[in-house]
């Protein structure tokens, strides 16, 4: 493990503000970022990352590794929940196992963004189509999670109609955060083709502010993640182990796939981070609706209380080391 990479990641404003938030909770400070301010930053980050991805996708075009990479990403978002479910069923009932499995098949946009920022400090190139992969990995995992419930859960559920496929697909595809991300991607794509001068005028908002807004949001994420640590005790050592080992395993699979796809180191890191991260935005909201039998504190505290901090703090530089070992830099 390349400790200099870890240190380089650690001493940047986004990660330090994340720590500041965690520490606020541990020390008992009353620092608080009241609702709906975190929502403002969350909406902004989704809009900006989508828009920037759309611009880059327009410039790079849809060729070369684009489609295979996106296909591989979607495949991972279908596969990860399946094998996660099998592991989780060792200790948990079908409802909880399916909800957590879906969470780990999906992605964390903030982890992705932090990895992008890390790449920029490393002066490593990455492509806009990775944002398309990000956008397309959210929904399939939700659907697989719910499919697992339908197949594996006790036959008679009181409100079976809540599981109508229409409702599930609706939740998976039109969930606010998925919708905003995909919509902004399309808007970036269309604007870049038709109105370069208007794109220019968007950049101070979507580009220049981005890093600072990410740092501010991570301050809140640090607070929220640390508040979840208490729940982890309730979740027990099995889930704690799962929250670290499953991302590591997924990262390994992701790195091999990235190598097979011929991705360059920057895109490879992002691909690995997509595989290794777990959703705490779109998926919990979907699961609460469609698998109310599952305990939210399980799927939120694993994804947000442990996997997210792990990825932000040591995961990203660790995966960079892995990528560097597997994929020789072109330079």
């Amino acid at each position: 493990m390349d400790t200099s990479l870890v240190l380089q990641n650690l001493l940047t404003p986004p990660v330090l503000f994340f720590f500041l938030g965690v520490l606020a909770v541990l020390l008992g400070s009353d620092l608080e970022i009241p609702a709906p301010l975190p929502k403002l930053f969350s909406l902004y980050l989704l809009l900006a990352i989508g828009f920037k991805g759309g611009l880059e996708l327009q410039h790079s075009g849809i060729s070369g590794p684009v489609l295979p990479t996106i296909a591989a990403a979607v495949a991972m978002s279908l596969l990860v929940p399946l094998y996660s479910f099998l592991v989780l069923r060792l200790k948990l009932d079908s409802f909880n196992a399916a909800a957590i499995a879906g969470t780990y098949g999906s992605i964390s946009a903030v982890t992705f963004i932090t990895a992008e920022s890390f790449l920029e400090t490393q002066h490593l190139h990455h492509d806009g189509f990775m944002v398309a992969a990000l956008a397309l990995m959210e929904s399939p995992a939700i659907i697989v999670g719910l499919l697992l419930v339908k197949l594996a859960a006790p036959q008679k559920r009181p409100r079976q109609e809540a599981m109508r496929w229409g409702a599930v697909l609706h939740e998976a595809l039109l969930n606010g955060s998925v919708y905003l991300l995909v919509g902004s991607l399309l808007i970036g794509f269309l604007s870049a083709a038709n109105s370069p001068s208007s794109v220019e005028k968007m950049l101070p908002f979507t580009d220049k502010l981005f890093y600072g807004a990410l740092s501010f949001f991570l301050l809140d994420m640090g607070i929220v993640a640390a508040q979840r640590v208490r729940d982890l005790k309730e979740a027990g050592s099995f889930l704690i182990g799962f929250s670290i080992l499953m991302p590591l395993f997924n990262a390994g699979v992701g790195a091999l796939l990235a190598r097979g796809l011929g991705l360059d180191p920057g895109n490879a890191l992002l691909f690995v981070v997509l595989c290794a991260s777990a959703s705490y935005i779109a998926v919990p909201a979907a699961m609460r609706m469609t698998v109310p039998e599952a305990n939210p504190s399980f799927y939120i505290s694993t994804a947000l209380g442990l996997t997210f901090p792990f990825n932000i703090i040591v995961g990203i530089p660790l995966y960079m080391g892995l990528v560097n070992a597997l994929i020789p830099s072109a330079g």
Partner: protein, 93 residues
């Protein structure tokens, strides 16, 4: 006249409101951003950014007959999704 106080997750609000309207209630009021604790654990506002939200407090003033319909429509939702409901007496001003 009866007063019904409901405490449910913001996420289930649309379904709860639908059930209230279906029961023929003359009106209702909704307050979001309610935190609290109940048999299913603590609810805070910290996941608000994710669309998960906190609790909502719904108040319905109605005649006793309507309350029967509300009970029928709401009980299954509350037992499936969680949430509490209490009834008390009230009169129009």
């Amino acid at each position: 006249m009866k007063r019904l106080d409901l405490f449910i997750s913001e996420r289930e609000l649309p379904q709860i409101v639908k059930a209230i309207e279906a029961a023929g209630a003359p009106g209702y009021s909704v307050m979001k951003h309610v935190t609290g604790k109940g048999p299913h654990g603590s609810v805070s506002e910290s996941m608000d950014f994710s669309g998960l939200g906190a609790n909502a407090h719904v108040i319905v003033f109605c005649e006793p007959e309507v309350l029967e319909g509300l009970r029928e429509g709401l009980k299954p939702l509350l037992s499936y999704f969680g949430g509490m409901a209490y009834v008390s007496e009230a009169e129009p001003l």
